[in-house]
């Protein structure tokens, strides 16, 4: 402990929650806090890592080429990201319950180091609550906040996980003195030691653990169906059902929202492929092009995923016809006139994957307007926002 202790304050302001013994619940206990903390740390770790995967898939640094396989990778990482975040709601609230009396600890600050330590709790709680609240709002497409979700969620993640690492460093001694089979031998590490559980009539410490686990289980069971194949029938409280939508598939951005209804239906539509031997295809020529079938999921950043059967020309066949070399990156452009997602870049692993199509058909019918008629990109292991719809140009970069 640092030696620069502050003088002890007078006792007269110790009223209300500052009173000794103001919080009688036997759940306010360092061992319970440590155990819930370990689970929270795992949960936030999973969210942070899977979140980074999603971020760098959408904004790849120049040295990184994402693979197009395994097909299910992004579905798994992003599904896990959202599922873990949802299951963390009971965990976080229970943890905050167990440590709430520490907010009113007396004296409020004992030393400069103690003040600094308490200060780092602010970004930790603020960030943790913020990440869960904005994440839940965003998956429901409830945009009450006036900041751009993905960017803010990304930076707050760094802040929160940074504060979390500081918190773990500060509390490591308390954790070691209270958790693990040899904890009795480590009791000297801190004065924050678990007291034997007093008798009581309410929820016990074990009961709290069971209740938190049950809550996380119920939340997972009733939402995981939005990305886990075969669980759609249990999908009662998720913002998407993978089989609900035109042609049995959900839509994220409709043709009306993208303002492409008229241009996409224009009979004079042309697909333009720009490379060493540029060419254009009319609708009839596009349909006459060599077609293939791919079974690929749409895997949304919002955590849902839905399987579908797509039909259309392989992207690599179109690139070959335009003389575009195998190592080239291409840009796929939508008929949308503006917006952050009107075009996407396709790197060689995805552009050359035999499963990657410029799909004109979906689940045995002509592609629905809301799914990107007349043609859309569909590639394996790629976030849904980059599966550009209403495609009219493919350009070699």
């Amino acid at each position: 402990m640092p030696s620069g202790r502050f003088p002890h304050p007078p006792a007269f302001p110790r009223r209300g929650p500052l009173r000794e013994g103001a919080f009688p619940s036997r759940l306010h206990d360092p061992r319970v806090a440590a155990l819930l903390g370990i689970w929270l740390g795992i949960a936030f770790g999973v969210c942070f890592l899977t979140g980074l995967v999603s971020h760098f898939m959408q904004h790849p640094p120049s040295f990184l080429d994402w693979p197009s396989r395994p097909v299910w990778l992004y579905r798994a990482t992003q599904g896990l990201h959202v599922a873990t975040g949802l299951a963390t709601v009971p965990l976080l609230l229970a943890k905050l319950w167990t440590v709430y009396p520490r907010l009113w600890e007396w004296p409020p600050v004992r030393s400069a180091a103690h003040a600094l330590e308490r200060l780092t709790i602010v970004p930790l709680i603020a960030g943790a609550v913020f990440q869960l609240a904005t994440g839940i709002a965003n998956t429901a497409q409830w945009y009450r906040f006036r900041f751009f979700f993905t960017v803010t969620h990304y930076w707050v993640a760094w802040m929160t996980v940074g504060a979390l690492l500081v918190h773990v460093a500060v509390k490591l001694a308390v954790v070691r003195a209270n958790v693990g089979s040899g904890r009795a031998g480590r009791a000297h590490l801190t004065d924050r030691r678990s007291a034997p559980e007093p008798a009581g009539e309410g929820l016990s410490r074990r009961g709290l653990g069971v209740a938190v686990g049950t809550a996380a289980g119920v939340i997972t069971l009733t939402t995981a169906g939005q990305f886990v194949p075969g669980l759609a029938r249990l999908d009662l409280l998720a913002p998407r059902r993978p089989d609900l939508g035109p042609q049995g598939l959900p839509v994220n951005r409709t043709a009306a929202a993208a303002r492409v209804i008229t241009v996409a239906r224009d009979p004079n539509y042309r697909l333009e492929v720009v490379g060493p031997r540029p060419f254009t295809l009319s609708l009839a020529e596009l349909r006459a092009f060599d077609h293939h079938t791919s079974k690929l999921p749409i895997t949304c950043v919002e955590g849902w995923a839905a399987d579908a059967t797509w039909r259309g020309p392989r992207l690599r066949d179109l690139l070959d016809a335009a003389g575009i070399p195998p190592g080239a990156t291409v840009r796929v452009e939508s008929l949308e006139s503006r917006g952050g997602y009107r075009a996407s870049e396709v790197n060689p692993p995805h552009a050359r994957d035999p499963l990657t199509l410029l799909a004109t058909g979906l689940n045995g019918a002509v592609l629905d307007l809301d799914h990107g008629y007349p043609a859309r990109l569909i590639a394996p292991n790629r976030p849904g926002v980059l599966q550009t719809k209403w495609v009219h140009r493919v350009v070699m970069l």
């Binding site: 802040m159 940074g162 460093a169 049950t214 809550a215 009662l236 409280l237």
Partner: protein
């Protein structure tokens, strides 16, 4: 020796954490067009205030009311079921409140969430009711064995709250 290594490790962890947090705050304050710092700050601080000044006191008040009206060993079951109900409802709040989505896209939030929440919470409370019956039978048996003055729910029997009920 060992203590020093531990200290160094903790120092390293804290330094890495401070660097990461600084990186995040720097990002928030640089990309202001996207992050809108005054708004982001309002939500960040708002989260703490809503928890510390509303969520915790309300939970504590509910706990206090329960001590008046629900006896051991049933109180623990009711507390556990309330915890599950409240957090399940919170995790799906925009859905059953009807917030979000857009009128031109019926595939966002497409389900009857009010009904679904009632089904899920119905299953949770059915599980809780079953546990209460089990505890009542156990207490009745214990009374029969040890006579009318015997102990009812001990801290031990108040400890378990049962496992995850399946939604139907």
């Amino acid at each position: 020796m060992k203590a020093n290594r531990g200290k160094a490790l903790r120092g390293l962890l804290a330094a890495a954490g401070l660097a990461m947090a600084g990186y995040g705050i720097h990002g928030l304050l640089t990309m202001t067009r996207a992050t809108n710092p005054p708004q982001a700050a309002r939500w960040l601080i708002g989260g703490i205030l809503v928890h510390d000044l509303v969520a915790f006191p309300v939970t504590a008040a509910v706990g206090l009311v329960l001590t008046r009206f629900v006896r051991a060993p049933y109180r623990a079951v009711v507390q556990g079921a309330l915890l599950v109900s409240a957090t399940v409802a919170l995790a799906s709040l925009p859905l059953w409140r009807g917030y979000g989505g857009s009128p031109d896209n019926p595939t966002v939030n497409p389900l009857p969430y009010g009904r679904n929440l009632a089904i899920v919470l119905g299953a949770v409370w059915a599980g809780a009711a079953a546990l209460i019956v089990v505890r009542a039978v156990r207490a009745w048996r214990a009374r029969r064995v040890s006579g009318p003055a015997g102990p009812t729910g001990s801290a031990e029997s108040a400890g378990t709250v049962g496992s995850a009920p399946e939604p139907s």
